[in-house]
Subunit: 361 residues, 2 copies
Amino acid sequence: MHTLNITPGGVSYPVFIGQQLLGNPELLAPFIRGHQVAVVSSKKAASLYLETLRKALGHFQVTEITLEDGEPTKSLAMLEHVVDCLLRDKHERSTTLIALGGGVTGDLCGFSASCYMRGVSFIQIPTTLLAQVDSSVGGKTGINHKRGKNMIGAFYQPACVLADVDVLATLPDRELSAGLAEVIKYGLIADPLFFAWLESHMDALVAKDSEALMQAVLSSCKNKALVVAEDEKEQGRRAILNFGHTFGHALETWAGYGNWLHGEAVAVGMVMATELSVRLGWVEEPLAERVRAVVQRANLPVSPPDDMKPEDFLDLMRVDKKTVGGQLRLVLLKALGEAVVTSTVPSGLLREQLAASCQET
Amino acid sequence: MHTLNITPGGVSYPVFIGQQLLGNPELLAPFIRGHQVAVVSSKKAASLYLETLRKALGHFQVTEITLEDGEPTKSLAMLEHVVDCLLRDKHERSTTLIALGGGVTGDLCGFSASCYMRGVSFIQIPTTLLAQVDSSVGGKTGINHKRGKNMIGAFYQPACVLADVDVLATLPDRELSAGLAEVIKYGLIADPLFFAWLESHMDALVAKDSEALMQAVLSSCKNKALVVAEDEKEQGRRAILNFGHTFGHALETWAGYGNWLHGEAVAVGMVMATELSVRLGWVEEPLAERVRAVVQRANLPVSPPDDMKPEDFLDLMRVDKKTVGGQLRLVLLKALGEAVVTSTVPSGLLREQLAASCQET
């Protein structure tokens, strides 16, 4: 088992990465302060892992809250439901919430923990690759509003994260691929060696090789931890983690939540952002070729749906949280492993890129 | 104008206390980072002060969100409404929310600011005495759940607080009295000299004398600031600010939100807590007599409604946030100006106190 310590805003918490972690009561116990625990899980995760977790929590008063899978769960109505269950079972400020599931579960459970009685402890047990390498680390929690994704939320850190790669064995191929999009992202924005490693190990990853997956999760979390430690509240450098996400969120919103997986949209967004970086003369075309190749080998799409138009992107990107002063901010590449945030992309070049991306298919 | 700097968790912000502050654009401008502002106000506060504030905000893009007066506004539905208005007008992360109103407005606006795009800046302009001396200072924000008050919220600090005592001239007598309950509280829990000053100036306060009110707001905020600076997240000492509130919240919930003013319920709660402290032998009966006298001179009640029973208190106090390990925690007095948090009150004594309080009328 690897232990990675993440230190955003001065408070440190561990991310445990390994095999057979889920049923280990000794791993969890030090992070539960009181006698009460609430496990918030998705139906799918509950059916696969709740029994194992329940055994590991034998001595605690446990409330089980099982939610529908999928993005619609990230709603104010589900927040109210979680709070209702907690109050019904008289959970006190010393309670601990455990998120057992993917990113949706972690985001909703984390936000619930951040605001239940103005904040209680919580633990992340991510059961998808995407959640293990991305949403469970870094403290971003939140729910959606009909006008935009993650518009209501908090920066709120877990007490610990338990990333058990054994759970990835049951993950559908499509979801594994979606997670690999974020894995590739870390290589592109911060770690050229890791990107090269991914180019040579993508087949093992797609085949769900445990050793390869453990390495991928570890390197991803390390890279994320370094960025988050510098900038907990996304005032500056942390924004590079949104590489591919401004285009990606627009695509996700356009398609309707849940029709495209987040990682699939981010994959397309990363290809677009790299191509735009080439257009600006910041990186060379061969890098864009390498990005498209590795994305394709991860069984991910490289262009938006046929019927999505440049104007759709422009309209949807204007309400993105990363907009500042009405000027669109984008994360682009200055080199392999070096991302920058820029708000000076000439709108003509942006339009050229959107036109090219929307015709590519 | 007095300026008080409050430093919870290392970040400092000013509380401005004085006259003619509301229409002063130079006071506000340094605390607005971007070009967007949203003023969240109650109908009552809007009708009295929005025009003045609007002039002071001449150069900014201003969204006005006016809400119903009263506790029902502290709901998830109203949070959603605020977020909807902000997104509709394309407010970005650099926006600033301004709460113009009483505690309800401040709590809802502050919580909205804490979670809109995972946190934006906000300014408190409290327009009731209660909000000026209590809810606007200290960073507690939140909304209600049908099972309990303030069950969903955040600790979130404003960029500044602007307490203009001129606005108290238009405050109904009943609301002024409700605010005086919290003022009296600071004397009781932390400041014997201030309590003595209150005993000699209560008539001036009830008559809305500006000088007396300014002194009362200043001393109250100073005492609160000292406690909050020590303990932002209510892990320990800050809990003494809840003196009178455990009984008071039970009374408020029992009566139905809005039927008793918060300060009225707290007044009764403080009398009960002082009497219970006498029962424990921690303070002498003459102190309880002084508390009842000053509370009555502030035109506040000293006992619960006739038809409220000891069992009603016990049932409602069990879901209070200050409960730990199933054991009821109470804030009581060890001396005038010295409050302690205790969970060792023999349940027999508590029941005796409740029986006495419920028969007193």
